[in-house]
Symmetry: C2
Subunit: 412 residues, 2 copies
Amino acid sequence: MPILVMKFGGTSVATLDRIRRAAKRVGREVANGYDVIIIVSAMSGKTNELVGWVEETSPLFDAREYDAVVSSGENVTAGLMALTLQEMDVPARSWQGWQVPVQTTSAHASARIEAIPTDNIMAKFAEGMQVAVVAGFQGISPEGRITTLGRGGSDTTAVAFAAAFGAERCDIYTDVDGVYTTDPRITDKARKLDRIAFEEMLELASLGAKVLQTRSVELAMRYNVRLRVVSSFEEMSDDAGTLVCAEEEIVESNVVAGVAHSRDEAKLTLTDVADKPGIAASIFGPLAEAGVNVDMIVQNISEGGMTDMTFSCPINEVKRAEKALDDARAAGQIDYADLVADTDVAKVSIVGIGMRSHAGVAAKMFQTLRDEGINIKVITTSEIKVSVLIDRKYMELAVQALHDAFGLDKAA
Amino acid sequence: MPILVMKFGGTSVATLDRIRRAAKRVGREVANGYDVIIIVSAMSGKTNELVGWVEETSPLFDAREYDAVVSSGENVTAGLMALTLQEMDVPARSWQGWQVPVQTTSAHASARIEAIPTDNIMAKFAEGMQVAVVAGFQGISPEGRITTLGRGGSDTTAVAFAAAFGAERCDIYTDVDGVYTTDPRITDKARKLDRIAFEEMLELASLGAKVLQTRSVELAMRYNVRLRVVSSFEEMSDDAGTLVCAEEEIVESNVVAGVAHSRDEAKLTLTDVADKPGIAASIFGPLAEAGVNVDMIVQNISEGGMTDMTFSCPINEVKRAEKALDDARAAGQIDYADLVADTDVAKVSIVGIGMRSHAGVAAKMFQTLRDEGINIKVITTSEIKVSVLIDRKYMELAVQALHDAFGLDKAA
């Protein structure tokens, strides 16, 4: 029988009642003829409670014990989900990570899945078991200790199971009903996408559309696992949600798939930097060491051997960036006149695989912003994305104008 | 190095602060030169919460899933205890049942321990690990599923580890400071015993002195594991609590070690039963099938081929007993005139291994009760115990009088 992976996040299994609602969706897919592998998260709030206890007990905790404690939340949900399905006369059993076993690296608290042997679960499917309920986010190290994959790891577990079992699809049940052309809180013209390409989803995920873990999308792309993002809180239907899939599966699409934004950006400018080979390395080396996530980088035209260097980073990393650069200057590693921080900026991006074959997309974006009187401070582009840094007060206006200009309220 | 097993119950690990206090006691024993195996229960209240969820989800639950869910409470405590010890610079790690592995039968929710291989933990002790923190109450079945031992199973886990590792002693930390000559709420002359024999403890445990699980005492007696019952809420000292040990270790003792009582008894009498062979079987067979725990049984002298049959059982099983006997009479299996239930009775017992070699103990008991004007309704005796059923209103008086008469307020 074809296999379907269904993943339910913390809010989708927060109470016994919600677990029952999730189980009904599973029952429906079993009736559709699937053998189903469910990946469950901990009931929402539980993981935070356990992490809180660990951190209070031992601020610099042994990650092996952290994993042993924190993984228990998913085990509880897995057992309760199996019981709920049994009550509905659906043959089901729970699997903890070590029982499958989900083999991971020994990097406790942020382990990577190395292999998922399918024989134990496939043997149960062959015996007539219709549902395997697997505790997400966890595995077992080569040393036989329990590992966890880090936050959001249940999405990764789901995609890895779908890849290992050759599942027809991996459905991610969450508290949003799909991927939108833009944030519906900014414009009510935002439209849910039926399909989106892996590459587009990756750009949107890293731009802050917090629907899916970036790592799980990367994995889905690598193994070509069709991912469906769907709400646990809507009526059941076969075409609900958004399918994240390979480009080839998307027959028609807009040139631009979506408009993303990020509010938590800051712009830093170093003035009067000597424009000589190695200068970028000497600036961004210390920033990387200090753990500053530099995003956009722009270097002005050089005048008299001196230049300005501008970059953006998350707003809560500005202090750390300033200290790293001050220290590097004090140590004689770099030289600059001034460090100017602008924390009133936002990033707006357009994303779409159609850009590869369509010229003039960036030009249309800049023209649209000019028509609204919005000044662009920094620009970066990739093959399928154009991002601009603008004053934060214009962010909503920019998103709305771009959404209109690229006709995103209408399907292709 | 000698090995010590220390078991901490739910109230002793109810909060992070209490876990720290328990860890200090462990640190003290490590400083004394022991390798320590700690058995932990779930933080108090956690197991009930998990059981509640399982029962609400599935009233006739699959016990395999029940075990998978309910065992998670002990895993959390084990990890937190290991972290707490590490913070105190005591090398420790947690072990879940399947990691040891604690091999049990497949009787989920009431499994029995079959074997505890010592090599994994001994290898860690050899490497310098000083404390193994083991999640109590759980194990793994031959099929690789998680099992639990039933309520109070952590005491049994502790004794089984002490037997398997040849531990010098098994300390049970709980919320009482030892075993008393009688219930201190009934008389303030009640005295904590320094030592008590396994056999005496077994009689007292089954009589309702809820200090230790009966099963764990049986196991301790079989493998001659010295058990110390000690409070988690008292100052640390080497002679705290009560040592439960073999008779040979008790040099001097009173003839009677303690006076036990049980309030929740009922007396049932069947009148005019035909006194013929097989009649006892035909009465107590149906009761056993109905799950009625019959305790004391008395058969009156036969008059004209007819007799009365009296027995006691827990008060909350009276209805079930009445129905079982009615049904048996309706089915023509037994015949009796009347069934009289007396639910205003209590059981009072004196227990002591000294009775074996001292005559007149029972006679002294009956005389003491007569002197107080207390009528005895039923009597049963064993080698080291005499029990009587009396009116419940005299229970406290009987306990106090017997405690005085046998001089239990003074050590031997």
